[in-house]
Every structure is written in structure tokens, then in C-alpha cells.
């Protein structure tokens, strides 16, 4: 299993998209945190504001799900799934190794993003003479919550990729689902007078599981539980499908 995870990590690091991921995360986080600080002048010195800057790590979280989908579907896209399954014919072990490698890399993404937040925010806030609240317990909590969020999103990605093997369908489908599908369902649930059900949708659950709060969401713990439930459900269906599939 360790060797399989090592192989999966090597797969991620040996393509160009790896560098694209890192550069885009650094760039988007920097833009995000700069926009955040630049647009608010009054409350820069408050603990609440500084904790909210940690949420910029959400950029890495979005890339975590893309990574999760890609590390599975790229094998089907390029046919590398054949040699992969020849080395390890127990396909569920391959999927599991991908999930573990994905978690490791997603945490790396979130930490990188966090580093960029710090590199932009700390000097900036120091220059404008805002008091820093880095030692606040709330701060560490939010960092932990964002790291866990990255883990949940990458696992959701792996589960989706395991179920939908076509890379384009999985990526486009997921983005459409996140930005359109769930919104439409929320409207539908409203019409059917079951508004509460919306909070249980997969990406609403993931949303409540990042700790940043929001309207009509589950509790933080509830969000984690429901998100894990969706990951388990999609992942189990995906493993079933992947095991049955003819690799030809």
C-alpha cells in the first residue's frame, strides 16, 4: 500500500499540470487576499477580519476537487490505467492509494495557499499599523477547518472520478453541478416547501464543513458528517463500477 501511494504521488509530480496547479494556487490566493485587504480599510485590525483572510485558502480547496477528479480520470483518458491495474490488479487498492495521495497533496495545496496568505497579509497589515491577532485560538481553528475542508473536497473529487471515468464529463459535470445544479435544486426544494433539504446536498454540506458559516447550512459537524456520507456513497458506487469495468 505504501508503495502504491508513493507511486501515485510520483504520478502527480511528474506531469506539467503539477506546476500549473502550484502557480495558479499561488497567483489566485495572492489576488484574493490582496483584494480582501485592499477593499476593507476600517476593520483590518480586528481579529474577525484577520481570521476571515484564512478563508482565501478556499482557492486551494477548489483545486483539491479538480486534482481529485483528475488523478483518477487521467488514467482512463491516457490508457495508463492498463499498466496501473497490471501492477495492482486489486482495483480498489489503487483507488484507495489515489485517495490517500490526493489527501496528502490537497493538504500541501492548502498549506501553500496559507503561506501565500501570510506572505501577503502580514507585511501589508504591519505596514498599515494594524494589530496582528495571529496568536488567537480562533485563528488556529480556522486554519484546521480549511485543511479539513481541502481533504473533504479532494476525497469528493476522487469519488466522482472513480464513478465518472471520462475526464471532461467529470470535470465539466461537477462544475455545472456546483454552480448551477444545486442552485436549481434549492429553488425546486423551495417550491416543494422542503427548503431544509437543500442543506443536505453534497456541495451545501461541503460548504458548511469549511467552518466559515453561511445561511441555510447545516452545523459545522453536521456538514462534515453529511459530506462524508456523500463521499462514501459516491466512492462505493465508483469502486463497484471501476471493478466491473472492462479495461480494453
Amino acid at each position: 500500500m505504501t508503495t502504491l501511494v508513493r507511486s501515485e504521488l510520483l504520478k502527480i509530480r511528474t506531469t506539467r499540470s503539477w506546476w500549473a496547479y502550484l502557480m495558479v494556487i499561488v497567483l489566485f490566493t495572492a489576488i484574493g487576499v490582496a483584494a480582501e485587504i485592499g477593499s476593507s480599510s476600517a476593520d483590518r485590525g480586528t481579529s474577525d477580519f484577520q481570521v476571515s483572510l484564512v478563508d482565501t485558502v478556499g482557492v486551494a480547496v477548489l483545486f483539491a476537487i479538480i486534482l481529485g477528479i483528475t488523478i483518477v480520470t487521467t488514467e482512463f483518458r491516457h490508457g495508463t490505467v492498463t499498466p496501473t491495474f497490471l501492477v495492482e490488479p486489486h482495483r480498489e487498492r489503487v483507488i484507495l492509494s489515489k485517495a490517500i495521495a490526493g489527501v496528502v497533496v490537497a493538504i500541501g495545496f492548502a498549506l501553500l495557499s496559507l503561506l501565500v496568505v501570510a506572505a501577503v497579509a502580514i507585511p501589508w497589515l504591519t505596514i498599515v499599523d494594524a494589530e496582528l491577532h495571529l496568536a488567537d485560538g480562533e485563528f488556529a481553528t480556522r486554519v484546521g477547518q480549511q485543511l479539513l475542508s481541502a481533504v473533504l473536497w479532494v476525497l469528493m473529487g476522487v469519488a466522482i472520478g472513480t464513478l465518472v471515468h471520462s475526464q471532461v464529463a467529470a470535470l465539466v459535470g461537477t462544475l455545472i453541478w456546483i454552480f448551477l445544479g444545486e442552485t436549481l435544486l434549492v429553488g425546486l426544494f423551495g417550491l416543494l416547501d422542503v427548503d431544509g433539504a437543500a442543506a443536505y446536498l453534497p456541495f451545501h454540506a461541503l460548504d458548511s464543513a469549511d467552518g466559515s458559516g453561511g445561511e441555510n447550512l447545516l452545523s459545522y459537524e453536521g456538514g462534515i458528517a453529511v459530506a462524508l456520507g456523500w463521499i462514501a456513497l459516491l466512492g462505493a458506487a465508483g469502486i463497484w463500477r471501476t471493478r466491473r469495468r472492462d479495461i480494453s
Binding site: L10, T74, G79, L86, P89, D246
Partner: protein
């Protein structure tokens, strides 16, 4: 060594493999032959547990592939030259698989040397020629130093020099005691390399035999050249032989050379040449797979 028993695989209504059974004996190079679409790849993929058969199945080294301990140390396979991430270098492609199987990096360099790909190893596979991809595939198959090799059309895309290189490599691998099953739709590619052949057509077994047996069973004629060709022809025809005049005083008859010689001697016919005409393997192959080729 490799045993396929009553293997059937359907894709929708199409029967790709139809109750196929054959054995590959240890220590031999076996050619797995059939026209395109005969079901060769599906069979090989079933042997390797990549495809789930509808009936029957296959064992390698006495077990199902997925039940082998560290399978790529026992069985090496090249299925399609394109099963490589185009953005990854040849070396990294091998390193990824070596890492998964717990094979040291030094072995990656060894197999790169063996297939003469060391110089191109750090280039992206995207820029490889088909021949280079085939070599990379062979390197992949050899990573675990396996005792059984399964190669699906490894000569595809190789130039004549490449085919000779492949032939020599397969021979030297077989000389080390490995068992090799190599598929091809062009008999000539493997005819000089293989000991035995398994010929399939439309998913069914046509023949399983040694090369010598296949040739022996082939209908060959006797070629005879004589300045008195037309007289000889009449004599042979009188004996009930089927004779073809191929011009230049040369006849081909479906009679053994001994009888032609005797007949010529008895009738004082001068012969300039008397040879047994062997059907080439290619002709045998076409003959065996013909008849059913039309829908």
C-alpha cells in the same frame, strides 16, 4: 504456464471470443495469430484480468492473474504502445510503475538500456515515435524481470530494423528460459521467432501446433523443370496428377518428387530441376483463416 479454458467474451451482440481454449507451454515462444479483430487483444486482456469474460477464464502460472503475488514480477505485458501519459518522460513512466511495484530505480535504468532508450529517457513521451513507444512498452514489461511475457502486437509500427531488433530481443529473452506469448496479425513478423502457434479467427481456435506441424500439414506441390515439359505433363496427367504449367518449362504437380523422378526415368525424360515446393507460413495462415473471412 498460460492456460485459457472455454473463454467467451461478448461486447453487446458481438462475440469477440467464442469458447476459446489453448495452452502456452513453459519455455516456448508462442505466436498468437489471427487477422485484425479475431479477438486476440480481448483474449490477452482476459488473461491479465483487465477484461471480465462471460464464460470460462484463464490462468497464468497456475493461478488467476489477480491472485498472483506481486504479479509484474511473474508476468510482464505490453498491450498497446499508447498507454503512456504523453506529458510524462519515458523514465518517469517507468519510475511510476517501478514505485508501485517496489522495484528499485536502478532497474529502471537497466531496462532503459536493454531496449536502447536511455538517451531519449528524459524526453516527454509525446515526442516519441511509435517504435520508441513500443520499446518503452517492452521496458515496462521487463521491469519486474518476469518469467512470462505477454506481448500484443509488439511489432506494430516498427521498421524492418526494429522488427529484427525485436526478434533478437525475444530470442534472447526466451533463451533465458522465459515463456513468451506474442500476438500478431502478420505471420511473417513472428514466423522466424516462434516455436509454436495458436491461430484464432473470429474468436475461435483454428489451430494450435508447432510451426513444423503447421508447415507439414500445408498442401505443397513438387516443382519440376524439364526441356520436355509438355511430354512430362502428359505423362503426369495420365497418372492422375494435377499439373500446372508455370512457364519456362516448369511444372508444378501435386505428386511427391520420388514419383516424378521414377516416372521421368522410366520414360527417359530429362529433368533439370526437381524440388519440393513448401507453402510459406503466410500462405498457410491465409488458407487457415480464409473461407470464413467473408461475412
Amino acid at each position: 504456464m498460460i492456460e485459457v479454458v472455454d473463454l467467451t467474451k461478448r461486447y453487446g451482440k458481438v462475440v469477440a471470443v467464442d469458447h476459446l481454449s489453448f495452452r502456452v507451454e513453459p519455455g516456448t515462444i508462442t505466436g498468437f495469430l489471427g487477422p485484425n479483430g479475431a479477438g486476440k487483444s480481448t483474449t490477452l486482456r482476459s488473461v491479465l484480468d483487465l477484461v471480465h469474460p462471460d464464460t470460462g477464464g484463464a490462468t497464468v502460472l497456475g493461478r488467476k492473474y489477480r491472485e498472483l503475488d506481486r504479479p509484474i514480477h511473474r508476468v510482464g505485458a505490453v498491450l498497446e504502445a499508447s498507454e503512456v501519459h504523453p506529458g510524462r518522460s519515458g523514465r518517469n513512466h517507468l519510475r511510476v510503475l517501478a514505485a508501485a511495484a517496489g522495484i528499485p530505480r536502478s532497474r529502471v535504468e537497466e531496462v532503459l538500456d536493454l531496449v536502447e532508450l536511455s538517451e531519449a529517457a528524459k524526453r516527454r513521451v509525446k515526442g516519441y515515435s511509435l517504435g520508441m513507444r513500443q520499446r518503452l512498452g517492452l521496458a515496462t514489461a521487463l521491469l519486474g524481470d518476469p518469467e512470462v511475457l505477454v506481448l500484443d502486437e509488439p511489432a506494430n509500427g516498427l521498421d524492418p530494423a526494429g522488427i529484427r531488433w525485436l526478434r533478437d530481443l525475444l530470442r534472447s529473452l526466451a533463451a533465458e528460459g522465459r515463456t513468451i506469448l506474442v500476438s500478431s496479425h502478420v505471420l511473417a513478423e513472428v514466423a522466424q521467432t516462434v516455436d509454436r502457434v495458436v491461430i484464432i479467427h473470429r474468436g475461435r481456435l483454428i489451430q494450435q501446433a508447432s510451426i513444423a506441424e503447421v508447415l507439414a500439414g500445408a498442401q505443397g506441390g513438387t516443382r519440376v523443370r524439364s526441356p520436355e515439359a509438355s511430354r512430362l505433363r502428359t505423362l503426369l496427367a495420365a497418372q492422375g496428377a494435377t499439373v500446372t504449367d508455370v512457364g519456362d518449362g516448369t511444372l508444378v504437380a501435386d505428386v511427391p518428387p520420388e514419383r516424378i523422378g521414377e516416372l521421368a526415368a522410366a520414360n527417359n525424360v530429362v529433368l533439370h530441376e526437381l524440388t519440393v515446393e513448401r507453402a510459406t507460413l503466410e500462405e498457410v495462415f491465409l488458407e487457415l483463416t480464409a473461407g470464413e473471412t467473408t461475412q
